[in-house]
């Protein structure tokens, strides 16, 4: 086992563990220290090869290891950097690091439409949270923002590319969990976009999972579009017998209506088990499901955490 200290909290991890995973381990074992987990916009543990792109998970390594205590000269992506024995990491305790992360968030937002009021993801959007926790309240960006047309990829999924942060999660999902990938990353640089190139429907049985893995409102559930704000719906754990997937889902209900079905996600908002499109889109009646009980959502969301109030206080 290797010893690692993050923001002064020590833990032991297996060789090969990344700093991010070590931080998550601390948060799982000692929830009072959850705040020291770096935000991860592109890394997604069920998806092989994900991470390293968004750079929001950066941390400062002030001691490389017991054997070689030199600090690492630049911030490193915690989702990609493996723990060494005796490593010392600073995240929330390092003001320079927080400033650097603020810089990343600023860059992620310069081309974002900031259309939360009309976005279905609002309330469970990681970019919204990130902007709240680490963003500046004003923008220094006075140039024109990049925009794309909104497109439907098939009957169930809508792609709102303007909101995309190019985390590549949906591409990895299609690669690793569906038979044939028909969407991908087209063009390059800041003209890069997720798309199918020619109009094509994503028809695969497991394609709906791209909605769950999307950290922002770029891929949304068309069957849920504008039906309700997420915070007005109530989540219930439910299951049904399904021959394609585990059949274990969360139903998002308003009264007796099932407005939306998603996979179950853990405290770090990662899908526990991927579900099939039939469960997700075709069983929007309560009777089709065995309801297990209310699901407690570990809402990271700015709205459920009452953070807006806190912010208002500091502003006034």
């Amino acid at each position: 086992m290797l010893k690692v200290t993050i923001d002064g909290i020590e833990t032991q991890v297996e060789p090969g563990t990344t700093i991010l995973q070590a931080a998550r381990k601390i948060a799982t074992e000692q929830p009072e220290h959850s705040h020291l987990v770096p935000p991860a916009m592109c890394y997604y543990s069920p998806l092989e090869g994900s991470g390293g792109k968004c750079r929001t998970c950066i941390v400062k390594v002030t001691q490389g290891s017991e054997r070689d205590p030199r600090p690492m000269p630049k911030p490193v992506a915690s989702c990609q950097t493996q723990v060494m024995d005796g490593m010392v990491v600073e995240n929330t305790t390092n003001p320079d690091l927080l400033a650097a992360r603020k810089g990343v968030v600023e860059l992620l937002l310069i081309n974002h439409p900031l259309d939360c009021p009309v976005c279905d993801q609002a309330g469970e959007c990681h970019l919204q949270d990130l902007a709240f926790a680490h963003g500046a309240s004003e923008t220094r960006y006075e140039e024109e923002r990049r925009t794309f047309e909104r497109i439907d990829i098939g009957p169930y999924i809508q792609l709102h590319m303007t909101r995309c942060i190019l985390c590549y999660r949906c591409v990895y999902t299609a690669n690793q969990f569906t038979d044939e990938r028909v969407h991908g990353v087209l063009f390059r640089g800041d003209r890069a976009e997720i798309g199918t190139y020619i109009e094509k429907a994503i028809k695969n049985d497991f394609s709906g999972n791209v909605i769950d893995v999307c950290p922002v409102g770029a891929l949304t559930d068309k069957t849920f579009r504008f039906r309700s704000r997420v915070w007005f719906t109530r989540p219930f754990d439910a299951h049904r017998k399904c021959d394609k997937c585990c059949g274990k889902t969360v139903l998002w209900m308003a009264g007796d209506d099932v407005l939306r079905v998603t996979a179950r996600k853990d405290v770090f908002d990662e899908v526990e088990e991927f579900i099939c499109n039939e469960c997700r889109f075709d069983h929007k009646v309560k009777e089709d499901w065995t309801i297990e009980g209310p699901r407690s959502i570990h809402r990271h969301s700015v709205i459920s955490a009452n953070k807006y109030k806190a912010k208002a206080k500091t502003v006034v």
Binding site: I165, F187, D190
Partner: protein
């Protein structure tokens, strides 16, 4: 008269073809290596030669070779990086056009040293005619038994192919090159694992620049020590410099490491000075990504010593007052050039070439381009300059591959050394549209040295 090592025979008529190349001593290094040296001994010679990567980073080649993993039963690959797309750099092209067999020979000898049986030359797609030149040279080498099965009757076999790219600067970054060679988008990989462990098709791979590989034959023929005797200190051997911009004689020159910068720019043996008797304003000596320096700092370092063409001398003073040798793309600016416009074209270049994977580079390069475009067109603000420096800091060191740094450095350096000129652009937008800023504070420098 400085010594030519790579281009010694480049001007011999017919050297492009096998017969003449062979007659001039070509392929001797393959004979010598295969018949009288073990692969380890070849690696040793390269180590002793002090040869450093000519692609830009200057990493010691022998050391890089010794990192190559050698698991049993797994093929290894040697890739020649002929993507050459860094603005200011056109030396590899020159070498491949003039003396293609030198690269082929270098790759055979290097492959022997590395235990490689399949090697590729990844060349930028725009160099279509060079693909043909190289394929012809390779065919000739096959024909004469330098490639293929059991070369020279030994157990060493090698296949060599040319693979053109599709137009992307980023494919010069070695892991992007590997991705591209696998038929994918040129997205750099996250390291580790490094190519020496997991490269092409997850096998151990060495990537070297054209010029690096072309230096291997002479090192094997004459010995590493003889090569190391040329040059100064840790900058051994010769370097191809592609000189461009405002020069009387732009072109590719082979120089001995240690040549004074002033001599290179002004002497008739090399670039022959600046056209029209104009004064020297600034220089970017190692390809567009290295910091620009004003004339005074380019000719002498901050301590007042002459700058010479070595890795060490050019980087003397760090980024505050120094720059880098980089890829040897030597860009010279005369007194009439506008640093703002130049910086804008660099920013546009890196924005155009960013692969778009990581957010700081993808978003930051576009932002810098737009701000510089505004300034250049007379719509800048005073705070834009600090903004640019700030954006560059947010990109630098916070990306998957060094393209982010390459985009950040030129902007930061231009503002560091030519801030007044930027400010003048911002404050006098109309005048800036009508005339150039000129030499600025360098007028005083030239007054003092009496030019």
């Amino acid at each position: 008269m400085s010594r030519k090592i790579l281009l010694e025979h480049a001007h011999v008529a017919g050297i492009q073809g096998y017969e003449i190349y062979r007659k001039m001593g070509g392929y001797r290094s393959v004979e010598k290596a295969l018949k009288s040296l073990t692969p380890e001994e070849v690696v040793d010679e390269v180590k002793r030669s002090g040869l450093r990567g000519r692609g830009g980073a200057g990493f010691p080649t022998g050391m890089k070779w010794s990192f190559l993993a050698k698991p049993e039963g797994v093929p290894r690959y040697l890739l020649c990086n002929a993507d050459e797309s860094e603005p200011g750099t056109f030396k590899d092209r020159y070498l491949m056009e003039k003396i293609p067999h030198l690269l082929v020979e270098g790759m055979i000898t290097s492959s022997y040293a590395l235990g490689v049986q399949t090697a590729y030359i990844y060349i930028r797609g725009e160099y279509k005619w060079i693909v043909k030149i190289l394929e012809k040279a390779i065919a000739e080498a096959y024909l004469h038994g330098w490639l293929g099965r059991k070369i020279l009757g030994t157990d060493f076999s090698l296949d060599l192919y040319v693979a053109p790219g599709g137009g992307a600067y980023i494919c010069g970054e070695e892991t992007a090159l590997i991705e591209s060679l696998e038929g994918k988008r040129g997205n750099p990989r996250i390291k580790p694992p490094f190519p020496a462990v997991k490269g092409l098709w997850q096998s151990p791979t060495v990537v070297n620049n054209v010029e690096t590989l072309a230096a291997v034959p002479v090192i094997v023929n004459e010995g590493g020590d003889a090569y190391a005797a040329v040059g100064v200190g840790r900058s051994t051997g010769t370097k191809l410099i592609s000189a461009c911009g405002n020069l009387n004689k732009p072109g590719v020159y082979e120089i001995e490491m240690g040549l004074p910068v002033e001599e290179f720019i002004f002497s008739d043996e090399y670039c022959g000075g600046i056209p029209g008797g104009k004064r020297f304003k600034a220089c970017v000596p190692g390809g567009s990504s290295v910091p620009i320096l004003p004339a005074d700092l380019m000719l002498k370092n901050a301590k007042g010593e002459d700058r010479v063409m070595t890795y060490e001398s050019l980087s003397d003073g760090g980024f505050l007052t120094g720059t880098m040798l980089g890829s040897g793309g030597f860009i010279v600016f005369d007194e009439d050039q506008c640093i703002v416009r130049n910086t804008y074209t660099y920013a546009r270049f890196y924005h155009h070439e960013s692969c778009g994977q990581c957010s700081p580079c993808r978003e930051g390069t576009g932002w810098m381009e737009k701000v510089l475009h505004r300034i250049e067109h007379g719509h800048g603000h005073d705070h834009d300059l600090d903004l640019l420096v700030d954006i560059s800091k947010k990109i630098e060191g916070n990306t998957i591959c060094p393209l982010g740094d390459a985009a950040a450095w030129p902007v930061a350096a231009a503002i560091r050394h030519f801030r007044e000129e930027f400010e003048w652009h911002v404050r006098h937008p109309q005048e800036a549209q009508a005339r150039n800023y000129g030499l600025g504070r360098l007028e005083i420098y030239y007054g003092a040295v009496g030019v």
